[in-house]
Symmetry: C2
Subunit: 172 residues, 2 copies
């Protein structure tokens, strides 16, 4: 499956089968994060892989919108520091890891609401680093994998030469 | 070429051949941005496609670290608004567009230093939106395509269960 096809097919997954994430797939997800471009090649990211069931449950309890982390077989906490601000670079790594996970048959989801200070303490993440998110990973349930997704039409978001000059009036 | 392979192979491109970006490839790059996930599916992004030579030259002159935009056959300004902050979602769209471009044989590069207010005025981007960056696009010169890239080892950035517990001590 090519890149664009993967981007189109991938959906946010919040329900996981109990099967463990294969070590080889985990490594490929981490490699996708590692090879991400960053400003001035700072590579500000750290990836903390969590598979301990009790620790996963604790993280899930600390995420008001991401309790399902507690039901995932694995999670990766993404922390970043040293870049100002690190969120741009970290977001690119997260996107790459999501796509690489999908290529492995795995699902994940961005979790926004997390008690970041508590999770940092739980995982021993240095105070000067920012916890960007915790991504759950696992094989999606059939229902989770079968979701559809909606996006605005290209004509709503693409413009020619100037904002407001519609894409459809272009040479395409 | 698969997703991880593309992530590993892609390099930042700042030197472009004069050939125009094919319309079909441009559309696929825009589709990659369009199908990106975003927080609460807000899709805060707008993509302004610039091919006018004089406008490209003007943008290049407004980018202290990105003068090469003036030598690219095409650029896409990425603006975003309505998300708080929109940079996380926009960064994911930018990453997807970079990967989809590489799949089309095209190169691009993140440009950090831009006179954003001036470029917003030039392109008619509404004041309440944030200009994230302007991405140049084109076919890379052989030298640009042949670059190597360096990244930290996985052992430096990946951890098991807790920050500082080295990846290499894991079951992998």
């Amino acid at each position: 499956m090519g890149v664009l096809e993967t981007i189109r097919a991938r959906v946010a997954v919040r329900e996981f089968l109990p099967e463990a994430v294969p070590e080889a797939s985990l490594r490929r997800v981490l490699e996708a994060g590692r090879w991400t471009p960053s400003q001035r090649n700072r590579q500000p990211w750290h990836f903390i892989v969590v598979e301990d069931r009790e620790r996963l449950r604790q993280i899930g309890a600390l995420a008001p919108s991401g309790g399902y982390i507690g039901g995932a077989p694995l999670a990766i906490a993404v922390a970043a520091g040293g870049a100002k601000p690190p969120v741009f670079d970290a977001a690119r790594a997260i996107e790459n890891m999501e796509l690489a996970a999908w290529e492995e048959g795995l699902g994940t989801c961005y979790v926004g609401q997390i008690d970041r200070d508590a999770v940092k303490a739980l995982l021993g993440i240095p105070a000067e680093m920012e916890l960007i998110t915790v991504m759950p990973f696992g094989f999606p349930t059939p229902a989770a994998k079968g979701q559809t997704k909606n996006r605005k039409a290209l004509a709503e978001i693409a413009h020619r030469e100037r904002y407001g000059a519609p894409w459809s009036a272009g040479k395409g």
